[in-house]
């Protein structure tokens, strides 16, 4: 368990330094934990699990600046997951008696296969055409922002800024989608 914390934290620190491969690996490992954690908490709504995983990944990604490097990474990520779960229940007006448990359990969940996220697809559909196209392009081309930028006729730097903005908008739309 401490191994995992050490591994996640070092990936997070590399990601904060601008290492995209480390950041991608971090989000991958985190998505497995999140999936296990959420499925246990919402046995009545398995269809919502992947939506919540994706919403949490977006939040973790967009709010990376709030991570204090002196603190354990898992405590920070777990707090975000817990916040997203409570927010989900509040929006759906679900009252739950299940305890939310602690970081230790968050670390020890069994990974499960990923699913399609419907909320994200729906939210993507509500974005303005240019931003939707940019995200679709990056999705198809993987890492390469310079290609996506070239197709849209802008520099890589401009494409980077545009992508970040599009993701922020997407996160907001996603949360409002089922409000």
């Amino acid at each position: 368990m401490d191994d995992l914390e050490a591994r996640l934290k070092s990936l997070m620190l590399s990601g904060l330094g601008g290492d995209a491969a480390a950041h991608r690996q971090l989000l991958g490992l985190l998505s497995e934990r999140l999936r296990g954690y959420f499925s246990k908490r919402m046995p009545a709504a398995p269809a919502d699990v992947e939506d919540l995983v994706q919403e949490t990944l977006l939040a973790v990604h967009l709010r990376r600046a709030s991570y204090d490097r002196a603190q354990p990474f898992t405590a920070w990520a777990f707090a975000i997951a817990r916040y997203k779960l409570i927010d989900h229940w509040r929006r759906r007006k679900i009252r739950v008696a299940t305890p939310l448990d602690d970081v230790a359990e968050f670390l020890s969940v069994e990974p499960a296969a990923s699913d399609d996220g419907l909320d994200l697809t729906r939210a993507l559909g509500t974005l303005p055409e240019r931003q939707r196209a940019l995200i679709e392009d990056v999705k198809l081309k993987g890492f390469s922002l310079s290609e996506a930028g070239a197709r849209a006729g802008v520099s890589e730097g401009a494409a980077k800024v545009a992508l970040h903005r599009a993701l922020r908008l997407l996160a907001g739309r996603m949360r409002r989608a089922d409000a």
Binding site: H23, L27, A59, H61, R63, Y67, T121, K139, K160, H164
Partner: protein, 213 residues
Amino acid sequence: MRTPELIDILAADTQAVAPGAAPRWLAMAAAGGAAIALMLVLMWLKPRPDLASAMHGGFFWIKAGYTAALGVAGFWATERLARPGGPWRSAAVMGLVVLAGFGFMAVMQFAPMDGAARMAAMRGVSWTVCTRNIVVLAAPMTLICLLVLRQLAPIRPMLAGFAAGAFAGGVAATVYGLHCPEATFIFVGLWYTLGVVVSGLIGAALGRFLLRW
């Protein structure tokens, strides 16, 4: 969309984040907010005419020290409430200790006075406008701080909003000292403190809506 696809997209958006970015953003918000408050004091309220001689007196600095200390506690609390799991209680305790210390001084000065002197000390010449002025001076910085918090991850929106408003209130009240001629502990303890608290409450009310994510 499948989660691995989302992760690829997020990885494409990997940007370096400098260490200490969050506190630096809040410090910049304070600098911007203080500059706006200073401009309002210079152009709207006007500095007190005896500013130069007042700055030689002790109470001018005691007053500034009190409100600045409230601002520091507010900064500290805001910075911690901006992070999930940030230990914010020690910052709240610092604010309360500053408040209690100043309140004690106010009681010590107030207790031996007779009725008429008490009234005069409490009201000064500006008790009807002091709180309002501080709240107005703090409003721009409160907004800037809330915008910064929207980039971070406050999991207690109202509490984080209160901290941001109190932070702004402390900074604004310190700038307000350049205009305000009042010089009793009881006056500052009542109306300045109320200005900081009201500014905090406005922050909490706004935070409830602006800081959801």
